[in-house]
């Protein structure tokens, strides 16, 4: 059962040269972050690393030790640049084996698609002792080993794997948030933000400026695990904005 007073954290490692070259825009950070929030788990840190074993091993060992959970995306496909399973096995000091159930899943999936070749069989390799995470799209499963979850790099497939994990991980009280938008330079109300946060110690306020339609505005996101504190802090901030003739837009702009 979830312990609502404890904060559960997770880290994410995005593995792939395609993100570091700028060729592919990452979509997994926001997707994993949002999903974790619903599970009552906070994404505490993210690293994007190259397809280089030593870089993955370093990140895995640092991040799994200081977070409740570690997720990785990318590098579990059939090609030579897919080295996540090998790197995670090395990080834990365990062997890579072919998982019998993963092999059976892939045999079934490829039965009508040209058969299970050596390259495809790579997708059944796991750190010895790992469990599988179902993939309803392409057969090749995700992998859970200890507190580490190896997910696909293709965002749609990652989404399916996250669905399969929903509700299975212990989390704490979800971090609640309210957003208030305002057509204001954030520098005009910096003192108001600071004071409002100080008088509501269970809340954090983030300030996110933007330009739209040639105008400057900002959204203020108030976060708390306590719904009443959150509501009180939001009311205080709205009152503060209105007191200086700056209409506040609940829900953000």
């Amino acid at each position: 059962m979830a312990d609502s007073s404890r904060i559960y954290t997770a880290a994410l490692i995005v593995i792939g040269d395609e993100i570091l070259s700028g060729r592919t825009h990452d979509k997994n950070i926001a997707q994993v972050a949002t999903w974790l929030g619903v599970q009552g788990i906070r994404l505490a840190e993210v690293r994007v690393v190259a397809d280089v074993t030593a870089a993955i091993v370093e990140a895995v060992n640092t991040l799994r030790a200081r977070n409740d959970y570690l997720f990785t995306t990318g590098g579990i496909g059939p090609t030579h640049d897919d080295i996540t399973v090998d790197a995670v096995s090395e990080a834990f000091g365990v062997d890579v084996i072919v998982h019998p159930e993963a092999r059976a899943i892939l045999e079934g999936y490829y039965e009508t698609r040209g058969g299970l070749t050596d390259a495809r069989l790579r997708m059944a390799r796991v750190p010895e002792g790992a469990e599988l995470i179902p993939n309803r799209y392409t057969g090749a499963p995700g992998i859970r080993f200890d507190n580490v979850f190896l997910m696909a790099g293709v965002p749609q497939i990652t989404a399916g794997m996250l669905d399969a994990l929903s509700g299975t991980l212990e989390g704490g009280a979800p971090l609640l948030s309210e957003t208030i938008g305002c057509w204001v330079h954030e520098s005009e109300i910096a003192e108001l933000l600071r004071e409002t946060e100080k008088t509501h110690p269970n809340c954090q306020i983030g300030s996110y400026p933007f330009w739209r339609e040639g105008k400057t505005g900002a959204n203020f996101v108030i976060r708390s695990v306590d719904a009443e504190d959150l509501a009180a802090c939001s009311r205080a901030l709205m009152a503060g904005l209105e007191a200086i003739d700056r209409p506040a837009f609940p829900g953000g702009i």
Copy 2:
């Protein structure tokens, strides 16, 4: 003058709770990565960290030591959650001062916009000894200290700061790339990719599968600092795909 035989690397730290909460989709990783590529500098690693001083200090000190350049985005605005300057100063063990030129820029910018308040003056704070990076949009400059470049979090402003830095950083030979697309399951041609890469040791081949229009395909990105090697490797891969009746699309699908 650039030493074309040496590989120059950079790291990026994306600072901000809004990315880790999933609220904001990061756009700076791809933007900085692409810009660095043009400068002949490789983005070697990225970390996304929370608005927490200790987390920023740890990332700054690790990444600046093992890369030629370190970029940060976010946390240099006027509000209480903007702590990047303080954290970078702490990482280097130097004081935070108000930069006279930054102060003058902000005085000019805010002359007709309500004046330079204490909150706005925060944006003139720099690690002692730092230089400024021009910001043609909102006055508040970016900051260069040693091999660390502090940029805005708002992507349009970051873009302007990158423009201002274009051509000023020493880099090596740019990493060239060619993309070849093919309607093929990457698992079908994993062996071809592995062999082609092995016989072209100056090239790396990345394989990026996708689904579109209900069909499976992949783009193969060949990278090299040598244009001739790159062309030879691309030709070999295209010939290999056509030998198994899989038409190759130069430029990708």
